[in-house]
Symmetry: C2
Subunit: 386 residues, 2 copies
């Protein structure tokens, strides 16, 4: 579940373009946030929605966290950036509120402003689940930084990271089932099922990384990315639909919309992970290749049956070694992925997933104006801002 959303550094101008290597990139949980006077309308619309979601959901989220007992409260307040490690107040940096914004936008798309207001608790519950997975994933992955601050396990220790995550999951479900809204019960069931899918996705990701490159199929990596990245985005949209009183078909369509947009995001993120400019990504060039990461373009290349696939398999078969030859080896590896068609495939597949997302959206929300908010958020998470 970790690393399924990256976050750029704040930028004062410039619009990211899909598939280019110009976005700064850093491991956190959120996609880049396009800002600036020359943003296209969709990016501006997305920024407005994210800001509004944060403003609506934060009080609910904060109240829920404050209801926790002493130690669990302290861990959660730290994780959300509301307290420093010593317990003193902090300004808060709870991320970009993509998932809450999707819940609210889906509710508004199908049920108007009243449904948006009614869905605030559901949005907070989704955000709590997301953050529970971040706390646990950072521990599993031994990641030391999240949202520019030391991760929970580095500050409080392993046991408290496990317990703090457990408490956040329980809090999310409690918040939903205590919501008197008639949709809260099916929403809670859906959210709990989503947690199971996220766990399985994280497991499969770890498992795939352990396997030999030739033993991994493209279908497996796509299924993993859907479980790890698409499931919670889909669940967020589905919960919004439930809170708008949507029927089963509309709920399923919105779930599909979020899942496909999530996959499109992951594909583009993987492309940037290989061809991203290190001056912007904040990571050394080809860090994913050096880590022998079985990202989507790499597995597409490995399974392409081309001569370049064999070359790539040979390169991936030996461990990366720092040194003078390293840069050359990374460049050769990236070229092999490209020559084997991995880059083109990923970009075409991302476009295809976005098209599917649009189809799902149109199925549930035929009115383009009503669908505008969700569309802008999907464009935002996939950086398809032009």
């Amino acid at each position: 579940m970790a690393e399924f959303m990256t976050e750029t550094e704040e930028r004062s101008s410039g619009v990211p373009r899909p598939g280019t290597a110009e976005e700064p990139r850093r491991k956190t949980d959120d996609p880049p946030h396009a800002q600036g006077t020359d943003d296209p309308p969709d990016a501006q619309e997305a920024a407005v929605q994210l800001e509004r979601a944060r403003a609506l959901v934060d009080p609910e989220l904060r109240a829920a966290v404050e209801s926790l007992p002493g130690a669990m409260r302290r861990i959660a307040l730290y994780h959300f950036g509301w307290q420093h490690a010593d317990g003193s107040p902090a300004a808060g940096n709870a991320g970009k509120a993509i998932r809450p914004a999707l819940v609210l936008a889906a509710a508004a798309a199908l049920g108007g402003p009243a449904a948006r207001t009614a869905a605030v608790r559901a949005a907070a519950a989704v955000e709590l689940v997301h953050n529970f997975t971040l706390v646990h994933d950072d521990l599993m992955d031994r990641d030391t930084t999240r949202r520019h601050r030391p991760t929970v396990w580095t500050v409080f220790g392993d046991a408290d990271a496990i317990l703090g995550g457990d408490a956040l999951q329980a809090l999310a479900l409690r918040l939903l089932v205590e919501d008197p809204h008639p949709a809260s019960v099916p929403a809670a069931a859906r959210l709990a099922a989503c947690v199971v899918e996220l766990c399985e996705g994280q497991h499969v990701d770890t498992d795939l990384e352990r396997r030999a490159p030739e033993a991994v199929t493209l279908a497996e990596v796509l299924a993993m990315a859907e479980a790890k990245t698409g499931a919670l985005l889909g669940c967020a949209c589905a919960l919004g639909a439930l809170y708008a009183g949507a029927d089963d078909e509309e709920v399923a369509a919105l779930d599909g919309f979020g899942r496909q947009a999530g996959l499109a995001f992951q594909l583009i993120d993987d492309v940037i992970g290989i061809w991203g400019d290190p001056r912007h990504t904040g990571k050394p060039a080809g860090a994913d290749l050096a880590a022998r990461k079985k990202s989507l373009p790499v597995v597409a290349a490995l399974t392409s049956g081309t001569p370049a696939a064999a070359e790539l398999a040979a390169l991936y078969g030996r461990p990366y070694r720092e040194g003078e030859a390293a840069a050359g080896e990374i460049a050769r590896t990236a070229l092999a992925v490209e020559r084997a068609g991995g880059r083109d495939w990923a970009q075409a597949e991302a476009a295809d997933r976005m098209a599917r997302a649009m189809q799902e959206l149109a199925r549930a929300v035929p009115d383009p104006e009503a669908a505008g908010g969700l569309l802008a958020l999907a464009e935002f998470v996939t950086r398809r801002t032009s």
Copy 2:
């Protein structure tokens, strides 16, 4: 949350007596199971109830676990003893079903046999929560054996132990909210709140063990034991009451009954941890003292203001060292706890807690015959079988 229930080896005869040192003891999650032809009626009644709970709840539990996706299912099937580590079928050893039996007995006490049948899913949900905490606790405590088998983290690794526990928590809540019974929603809210309390209790336990002996108060240790041991027993009883359609007062009384019985159990378990016969406990004499464990009798002794308290503080202030003098030192430490009144206090407090449990029970279930099932289970968990 770990280590809050111990389990004796099976015995072919003999009745454990409260506060004596004759019960075998081994770290698992369940209290001892008195068996044999000379068992008193209550112990026989408890055995019947536990067996019936296992038979009623296991199919529901098994179906829920089977609904998990691949890896999460495998981890859960292993944990419950339904599969070996290699995935081949196993006979199953899911523990003694104390908590499910409490759910069903509480439902039956307040709503008769129909309520018992209706509460089976709630009983399974409580058992799933209990087992999620065991999987995580074993990892945190680095315990290698549970129910005579290697623990999940030793077989599947740390990451899968975290993910498997997370999935079991989500499954528990999903099972409840998908139950069409009108009590399922308040039951789910109560179970989620209980999870938060269990997490806090486990945190406080770890924290107390790290602190200097003189910096721990008796009130703190009692509060921790209630959160870590009493909360889920109380929640189990409360859920049964909810499923019987009980009013708020009855639900609160049954929660109190379970909590007080849980505390009584913990007090007696701590006494056995110090004065238990190593031929029966399966642990070296005074293992809790050697580990400088701040158990309830020890903290009562340390805070007694007696001369023996000062002697005990001095002994606890230095680390335990293996060697020829070790047995003598442990004997001196046990004697200091006893002379400072720790043993007498714990036994009196256990009796007091059981009396309070009986009062709570009588408040909700005045009819002694209807209360008989819960009473037998309480006697069973506290070994007050005579």
